[in-house]
Structures are given as C-alpha cells and as structure tokens.
C-alpha cells in the first residue's frame, strides 16, 4: 500500500495548513475555512488509522540534505499509535478551547498545526537528523507562539528569548549525540545507531547518554532545564495544555523510550539517572513549595509523572516501558480532556470537578509510585531514592488539600458534607476502575504491537500488597482532609500556615504554664520548629539559587565580559589608532620643520633598502633562475 495517504494526512496537510495560516493575512480567511482547517485532524486520525488496516506499508523518502543519506518517514505501527494518540489530543485541544483558535488568532493556530505536523514526523522517522529537525521545529513553534503572545499581551520578550535558548540547549544536546553516534557508525538510522551504541566504549556511551538526556530533560521540563515551562505559564490555556502537557512530554518520553536500552547498558548510567531524577524531583518540590494554585499544582503533578517515567526507564525493559508510555499518553489525554476550565465562569460543582481531576492524577501517580517502589527494591539505593519520591508525593497531597480553601470563601465546609463525600468515594472507585481498564488496554496494545506480552504490575507483587497500598493511599488522602478540616486551615500559602501554627501553638503552650523563652519539650512544637527550619533552608535555596541564581550568574558573567571588552577590545579600537596617527603625523611634521627634506631622504633610503632586498633575493636564487631560463 502506498504510504502517501497517511503521509498526506498526518504531515503534509497539517504543515500546509500551518504555513498557510501564518502566511495568509487574517482578513483573507473566512470563518468556514478556519473550521475546515480545525477539522483536518480528523483526516489525520483516519490516515493514521488506515495504517493499521494493511499488513505492509512502504516509506516516503527524500534526499533533502545530500550528506545526510536518504531521509524516510516510515509507518511502523507502534509509532503510528502514538501519532494517533497525539492526533486525538490535538483535536481535543482545538475542541475544548475553541475561543482561542478563531479567525482572530490564525497565527497561533498556524504554529499549532506546524508543531503537530513536525511532531508526527519526529515520531515516525527513523532518520536521526530528520528527527532533530522536526523536534527543533516543534520548539520553534512554541517560541513563535510565545512571541505572538508577547506581542499581543505585552509580556516581556525575555520569555520568548529564554524559551528559545532553553530549547536550543536541548536541541544541541540531541544534535551532539546524533553526530557523535554518526561519527562512529557513519549512519543516521536511529535503530542502527542505538543498537551499535550499546557496544561503544564506556566514555563514548557516557557522552551520548548525557547529550540525549539533556534533550529529554528539556522536553520533559525537568530541573534544571525547565525554564521554558515557567515562561510558558503565561500562554493561553489551550496552547499551554497542548505543548506542556501533551506534545513536548510525549516527544520527550518517546525519546526516552528509544534511549532506554542505552541508559540500561551500564548499571552506573542507570543509577546516575536514578539519583539525578530524585534530585530534580526534590528541587521541583522546592520550586513549587509555596504554590497552591490549581494550575501550578497540575503542572507539578505532570512533572512528577515525567520523573516517575524517567525512573522507570532506568529499571524496566524497553517493551515494558513502551506499555507504560502508552498508558501514560492515554491517561494524559483523558486528564486533559477532563480538565476543569479556570478561564471560564465557574459551573455548579466546579470544586468537585477540580478535586476529582486532581485526585485522578494522584491516583495515576500512586500507581506509578507503586511500581517504582517495587522496582527500586531491586537495587541497594532504591529504597533511599524512593523516600524522596514518597516525600514529594506527600508534599503534593498536602498542597492539594489547600486548594479548595485557597480559592474559596473561608466559610465553606469543604468536602465533608455527606453528598460530596459520597460523590468523591463513588468517583474514586470509578477512577480506580478506569485506571485498571487503561492498564489492561496498554498491556494489550503492547502485546499486539510488540508481539510480546507485558505485565505492568511488577511480577514480584502479591495481591495483599496492592490492596494495602490502595487502602493506605485513599486513607492517607481522607485523613489529610480531615486534619485540614479539624484545624480549619484557610490560607493558600504554606508559609502562612506555618506562621499561624507558630503563633497558635506557643499561645496554647503558654496557657499551660510554659514560660516564654524556655525550651518546649512538646513534640509537636519540636516538629514545628524543624519544619520551620526546613522551610527556611528551602526558602534560602530558592532565593539564592533558583529565583535570583540565574540573574546573579548572568551578572557575574556580564562583569567578566565587560572587563574583557573594555580592556582588550577598547585597547585595540580605533581610538588607539587615531592617537598613533596623530603622533606619527605630529612627529613627522616636527621632524620636517627641523630638518627640511629629511622625509624625502628617508623615503630614498627606504627605496634603496627595498632594492637591496630584491637584489639579495634574486642573487641567492640566481643559479636556479639561470637553470630555469
């Protein structure tokens, strides 16, 4: 079967539409034409689906960059499945947020379509350089959108600039790994390169893995390469949702999936990644520590799930990771579909929707943690690393329970009225059921596409463990809510909560005849002080290294550069030459005044000197000239 139809639908049409929307003036576009463009992902989905109906499908190839061999877009079924998921996600975004993609925002829509088309190619191609180009186009689309948004909303240009720089770092990481592998294999085939890279010397592999991880880190917005995520927080919700929660993470995880074999080729690499992702997770928690807005927490939960996936990539085999990836993509799409809109007037039961939306994310995270718990026990450092994951999870739960009160009036009773609690429990059971269905689907899809059965729960698990985990998960959740309700914590910032505890508890203790200034042996007070100290440390780290670290670094570098510039460049600048010129002409004039005709004599001597030089050169080689003549 010709591959042209799927190629046309998943790449050519979206790309043409994207470029068209950017180039054609807004006034020349009708409302109906925008509707047609917005419906085109349906065609892409059909195109992707047709691939499943045929046994064998050829590729679309081009010799675009002459030195880079033939570039092909293939239609491997496991890859087209991811494209199909992306198409669903893309179309859902266009449907859920129709008001952002109208005639007045065709440029935004244009960039969205370009990113979609480029992402499809990035997934489908087996040519490394083609993937690099496609990924760079995806990043540029987001930068373009950020720029347009900057223009229209007056948000500083710095955002777009930082985003571009951040993506460029990731792209250069990928390019370095590609070119390094190419220098050894003389091929740009992804499969061939990754297969051969496993047997490269350890040092070479380390470089390749490091460079690949830089690219993955940027796409998944993991600390410290997550600048773009913060700068993209000012984008329209639909665009943010598409890029930060669907497209770039999918591409990042897909890249991670392809690199899994390489990461696991040496235990040291896997452990390094394992430790580093924990560090990143911890830093992430510090970054988001004081945030309790729903959008922020949602972003944090996404980051948490990316971190979990990276942890899984260090331990599970490639086929199993594919299953986790499929599961994660499905969950991400469903979560985005069910996401409550904050930018629209609130509907009835908005809080419940919000609560359920976040709790479903927690449930999925809980599942991932369950798996990580089990696989982390396979290595000696695993349990220690798992503690960080666990702390991070509880930290999220803690912030999560603040949301209702943070964004509502203080007089609310929260979730504890009977009807809401029933709804919550009912929905929880449903979401557990949904998750089980999704896990089963992911396993089936993997068995079908990869011709090998997988089991997403680690085989070492026993039934009581799972039950215990689920019960403790929900119990923990409910206990957290009860504690919140009992103490009546009604602030939206955790440091404010801490302050209140600080003032509240000593008063109680004082009433119980504890003198001010004396050491309290109350364990609660001790933990309170401890947590205060930890918060202070976090605050210090945040202020010193996160919030102003980059500025300080830039300032220091700037100072060095300026010093170089002033000392070296200015020294050799035209000013010096002006002085030299004046000095030469001045002294020459004064010499001429003193000794008329001296300059002429000097020139004469110079001419004689040159003549002597010429004679010398010729005389030295006279013999050879004679021979030549």
């Amino acid at each position: 079967m010709t591959a042209f139809f799927p190629f046309l639908t998943v790449f050519l049409i979206p790309m043409v539409f994207g470029v068209g929307l950017l180039v054609i003036p807004m006034s020349a576009l009708r409302k109906s034409s925008i509707q047609i463009v917005k419906s085109s992902p349906i065609l892409a989905a059909i195109g992707a689906f047709t691939v499943f109906l045929v046994e064998d499908i050829n590729s679309i190839c081009t010799e675009w960059l002459a030195a880079a061999e033939t570039m092909c877009v293939g239609f491997e079924k496991s890859a087209i499945l991811i494209v199909l998921f992306l198409t669903v996600g893309f179309y859902s975004t266009l449907i859920i947020y129709p008001e952002y993609f109208t005639r007045s925002s065709t440029k935004l829509l244009g960039f969205m379509f370009i990113s979609f088309a480029a992402a499809n190619v990035a997934i489908l191609t087996n040519h490394f350089l083609m993937r690099y180009i496609a990924l760079e186009l995806v990043g540029l689309s987001l930068v373009g959108i950020s720029l347009l948004h900057t223009i229209s909303n007056g948000i500083p240009w710095r955002n777009a600039g930082l985003m571009f720089l951040n993506f460029k770092i990731g792209d250069l990481g990928l390019l370095s790994s590609i070119l390094f592998m190419h220098s050894k294999t003389l091929s740009f085939s992804i499969n061939e390169n990754l297969t051969q890279a496993i047997v490269f010397p350890s040092s070479a592999r380390s470089v390749i893995i490091f460079c690949l991880l830089v690219s993955i880190w940027v796409k998944l917005a993991i600390w410290p390469l997550n600048i773009w995520l913060n700068t993209s927080s000012s984008l329209f919700p639909g665009i943010r949702s598409w890029f930060t929660h669907l497209l770039l993470p999918v591409l990042g995880v897909y890249l991670l999936y392809r690199s899994t074999v390489l990461i696991q080729s040496n235990n040291a690499y896997a452990i390094t990644v394992f430790l580093f992702i924990n560090l990143a997770l911890l830093i992430n928690e510090i970054q988001y520590f004081f945030s309790s807005s729903q959008g922020r927490i949602s972003s944090e939960l996404h980051l948490f799930s990316f971190s979990c996936l990276v942890l899984l990539a260090t331990r599970v085999d490639q086929h199993t990771f594919w299953a986790y990836m499929v599961l994660w993509v499905m969950v991400s799409i469903i979560v985005e579909l069910c996401k409550p809109r904050n930018d629209k007037p609130q509907r009835k039961n908005h809080e419940i929707t919000k609560f359920l939306y976040l709790s479903s994310q927690f449930l999925f995270l809980g599942f991932l943690m369950l798996v990580i718990w089990k696989i982390s026990q396979l290595h000696i450092i695993g349990p220690f690393a798992y503690v960080i994951v666990w702390i991070a999870w509880w930290q999220n739960v803690f912030r999560f329970i603040q949301i209702p009160n943070a964004e509502k009036d203080q007089g609310e009773t929260g979730f504890l009225d009977k009807a809401k609690l029933k709804l919550f429990l009912g929905a929880s059971i449903c979401s557990v059921f949904c998750l089980l269905v999704l896990i089963f689907t992911a396993e089936s899809l993997t068995s079908y596409f990869k011709h090998r059965p997988v089991f997403l729960f680690p085989r070492e698990f026993i039934f009581p463990e799972i039950i215990f985990f689920i019960i403790s998960f929900w119990a923990g959740f409910l206990i957290s809510i009860l504690i919140k309700s009992f103490y009546g914590i009604k602030r939206n910032e955790i440091n404010q909560f801490q302050k209140r505890l600080n003032t509240f508890l000593p008063q109680h203790l004082h009433n119980k005849t504890i003198k001010p200034g004396t050491f309290s042996k109350d364990p609660l007070d001790f933990t309170n002080r401890l947590s205060n100290s930890i918060i202070s440390i976090f605050q210090f780290i945040y202020n010193q290294f996160e919030r102003s670290g980059i500025e300080k670094m830039i300032y220091a570098i700037n100072r060095v550069f300026k010093y170089l510039f002033e000392r070296i460049e200015r020294f050799t600048s035209a000013d010096l030459w002006v002085r030299i010129l004046h000095s030469v002409t001045g002294s020459s004039k004064s010499v001429q005044k003193a000794h008329t005709g001296l300059l002429r004599v000097n020139l004469l001597w110079m001419a004689i000197f040159i003549l002597i030089l010429i004679i010398l050169v010729i005389s030295f080689n006279f013999q050879s000239y004679l021979l030549f003549v």
Partner: protein, 488 residues
C-alpha cells in the same frame, strides 16, 4: 579565443574596465554611475553563470598570458570547482551591495569614484579567486585591500575614518606580507608561479612545508579576522559605508578561507596538513566564543554584527581544521551561507540606521510595529544565524559539527556546538531590543526602496538556500578532489 575563455576573462575584465571607464569619464557619468556599476556586475554574474555548464562537463582550461617568461612568470586565470563557491559569493554580494548603494550612499560629485572603487574591490576579489598563479593572485589580493581601504578612507561614516582605514590597511597588509613571504619561498623553490607547479615543488622540499604553511595560515587568518588577528574588523565594519561593509563581511572575509583551501590545503596531503588540525580547531573555537561574547556586550548595532562575523569565521576555521570531508565541505558551504545571512543582517541594520538614525542598541526600541517587513527579514536572518533548520546556515553548521566529531578531539567538537548557544544569545538580545521590547518612540525616516529590495531579496534567498540545499551541496562537493590531494 574560445567562448569559454571569453567567459572566464569577461567575469573579471568587465568590472575592471567599467571601473576604469568610471574613473576616466566620471564627470560625464556620475549621475548614471550606479546604473553602470549595476549593469557591469550583472553582466559579470551572467558570464560566470554561463560558464557553469562548461564546468559541469569537467572542462576547466586555464587562460594564460606570458608576462615575464625569463622569470617563469605567467599570468593565468581559471575557474575550477574550488573557485566556484567563492566566485559565486563575490558576484552575488557585489550585486546586492550595489543595489543597496542606490539608496544607501548619496549621489554626489564623487559617486563615480565610489562605484568605480566598489567594482575594483569586487574585481580584486574575483581576480584573487580566478588567479591560477601566485603573481596574479597577489596583485589582485592587494588590489582588493587598496580599493577597500580607499573606500573606507573616503566614504567612512565618521571622522575616525582615516585612522580606521590606516589600521585596516596596516594590519591586513601584515597578513599580505606573510602570504608574500610564503609565495617567495614557493617561487624560489619551484621557479614558476603556476599553482600546478607549486604542489610538485612543495612535495620535493618537505623541509619547508611547516614554515610555508605557518606563513600562509597566519596571513589568511588575519584576513579571516580570527582572534587575536581580528582587531581590524569591528572598526572597519562599523566605519565603512554600508555597501562596503556588506562586501567586507560577506565576501572579503571568505578570501582568507579561499586562501587556506587554495594554498596550504591544496599543496599538502592530509598527513602533512594534519599537524595544523588541532591549532586550527582551537583558534576556531576561540574565535567563535570570543566573537559571540563581544557581540553580547557591544552596544553599537553595526559592531554587534561585525563581531558576529568573527564568531562565524571561527566556525569556518574549525571546519577546515577537522580535515574531514564533511568539515571542509561544511566550511565552504558556510562561506556561501554566511555571505547571504550576513549581507541580510547588515542590510537590516543599514535599514534601521537610515530609518532612525541611531546606532546604539539601547536607544532603539519597538520597531516591530512600525516596520513589519524589516522585522520579518531580521527574524529570518536571526533564526538563520542561530542555525535553525530549513534556513541557510543550518546545512553548513551541522556538517562542520559532524566533521568535528569525526576527529579525535571530541571535547573541542562539544565546545564548538555549545558555542552556538552564545550565537543564539547575542542575536536574541539584538532582535529583542530592536524589535520586540517596547520603548521610546523614535521618528521613522523614509528608507530608499533599493535597501528594502536588497533586504527582502536576501531574506528570500536565505529561505530558498535552506529549503533547497542539495544543488549547492552537489556543486561544492566537486571541490573535494582538489583539496589535500583528494585523499579523503
């Protein structure tokens, strides 16, 4: 004279004779001098392109004229595949510079001289590229320098012009002298001045190889403005009138690259040249970083782009230093693409200067809303110089990087790639400040249509060169058998 010989000689002679005509009958032609210059450059370009089919057939016959037969000196010119990319660059850049000059340089009493020298400058570059013997090469090499110095001296933009011209002349002439010393050694060894004879003589005298190569590399590095020999470049680029700046940055800098390819890399074998691999790569990386860093802190917009040239020349030197087919191919392609993109950026800067009359990055803000066409062109130029795919420079950059990874100096290759982040940083700073950060409301002056035409045409060329890289790559690939004995 055969048609091919006529075409080759005409590429050069049209410009020389037109320049002489302008000088001789200047007073009569000053009002039409620019049109005469434009027609001359178009004819020259036409002749060059007409020769392309001949070149594709593998015919590359030199045209010779016996000058001093007793001394073995014969004047000879030839177009071969090594000449092609550089001549192509020079011809196109000259054309764009002249079009730009229509609106960029005021027509006055001296206009005919300006266009005459501009053509001589171009002829100097073409002659250097076409020369098939060291005698003619050096004559045109010096002509290029003298003509450009005169242009800076007379049409420079500030009162510093005489000092800048002097500085430019002395420093680049120092480079010329080093090249001359190498030529003299070669000449005394071979007894002739023809390129084909030089290679044999070099191989017969292996003890002088290192010395000759060092002289050549130093001499041409000065022309390429490689750090620390770059000190002439920022002042000269900032001082020269914009059409001359375009020619200096986009075409003349590449003469150094041509020199390295034509002499040390054509005369020596891979093994002989390999001793220079590491120094070239190191200097390339240093130039890339230093140029970018200086561009980051400079405030004069013309000088920022000038420093960017220092940085870009670093890429080219690095590519040459890899001594791999990909690296050398990338370096040669980078010459062409850099010429297009740099000409575009300078055209944009010239447009801005004409429109707002300011040079300082801090005094120009928010041009995006007022000049959308310029914004588009500048963004294209910025993205291209950042190495974004589907635009010109990406195709050469990845080849250079790839060449770097094929050497044993992996760390240098990684540093080279990292350096391109600085390129992104300085160009973002410039683009952001000029176009996207809102600020003071400067009055916008009318800009001549020729400036707009040349800028837009270059922006389109940047896109076309990026989207369709294959034809150019195939042409440039033909140079490989001529370099390092073809032993890739």
């Amino acid at each position: 004279m055969e048609i091919q010989e006529f075409l080759v000689s005409s590429v050069l002679l049209v410009k020389v004779f037109t320049a002489l005509l302008l000088f001789a009958f200047g007073k009569l032609t000053k009002s039409i001098a620019k049109y005469v210059a434009l027609i001359a450059s178009l004819i020259s370009l036409g002749f060059f392109l007409s020769y392309l089919p001949t070149l594709q057939q593998g015919i590359s016959t030199p045209i010779g004229l016996e000058f001093l037969p007793e001394l073995g000196i014969e004047l000879s010119i030839k177009i071969d595949w090594l000449t092609f990319p550089f001549l192509l660059t020079e011809e196109f850049v000259t054309l764009f510079a002249i079009i730009y000059a229509f609106g960029g340089v005021k027509t006055d009493e001296r206009s005919h001289f300006f266009y005459g020298f501009l053509l001589l400058f171009s002829a100097g570059m073409s002659g250097t590229t076409l020369a098939n013997d060291i005698f003619l090469f050096y004559i045109f090499w010096e002509l290029m320098l003298i003509a450009s110095s005169i242009l800076v001296l007379n049409w420079g933009e500030s009162i510093k012009r005489s000092a800048v011209a002097l500085k430019y002349f002395i420093i680049t002439h120092l480079g010329s002298l080093l090249v001359l010393i190498a030529f003299m050694i070669l000449y005394t060894q071979s007894g002739g001045d023809n390129f084909s004879a030089l290679r044999e003589s070099v191989q017969d005298n292996p003890e002088t190889i290192s010395m000759i190569s060092i002289f050549f590399l130093l001499g041409f590095a000065i022309k390429m403005a490689i750090v620390p020999f770059h000190i002439w470049l920022p002042d000269t680029h900032a001082e020269a009138p914009m059409p001359v700046t375009i020619m200096l940055a986009a075409a003349m800098l590449s003469m150094g690259t041509y020199g390295i390819l034509r002499f040390p890399m054509s005369l020596l074998t891979v093994q002989q040249f390999s001793q220079f691999s590491l120094p070239l790569m190191v200097f390339g990386v240093v130039s890339e970083f230093y140029g970018s860093i200086m561009a980051l802190v400079e405030t004069n917009i013309k000088r920022i782009i000038a420093y960017s040239s220092v940085s870009q020349m670093g890429y080219i030197l690095f590519g040459l230093g890899t001594i791999t087919s990909l690296g050398v191919m990338g370096a040669t392609l980078h010459v062409i693409y850099h010429a297009i993109v740099k000409a575009l950026l300078f055209c944009c800067v010239g447009w801005i200067i004409q429109a707002v009359g300011q040079y300082d990055i801090n005094s120009i803000r928010g041009l995006k809303g007022k000049m959308p066409l310029l914004t588009f062109c500048f963004v294209i130029g910025s993205l291209a110089i950042s190495g974004v795919p589907v635009l010109a420079l990406f195709n050469s950059e990845w080849l250079i990087f790839s060449g770097g990874f094929q050497t044993q100096f992996l760390v240098l290759a990684l540093i080279e790639i990292l350096g391109s982040i600085l390129t992104v940083a300085y160009i973002m700073r410039l683009a952001g400040a000029l176009f996207f950060i809102p600020g003071n409301e400067l009055p916008i002056n009318q800009v001549h249509v020729s400036i707009k035409v040349s800028t837009v045409a270059l922006a389109i060329l940047t896109i076309i060169a990026g989207v369709f890289p294959k034809p150019l790559y195939d042409y440039v690939a033909n140079e490989l058998p001529l370099i390092l004995g073809g032993g890739w």
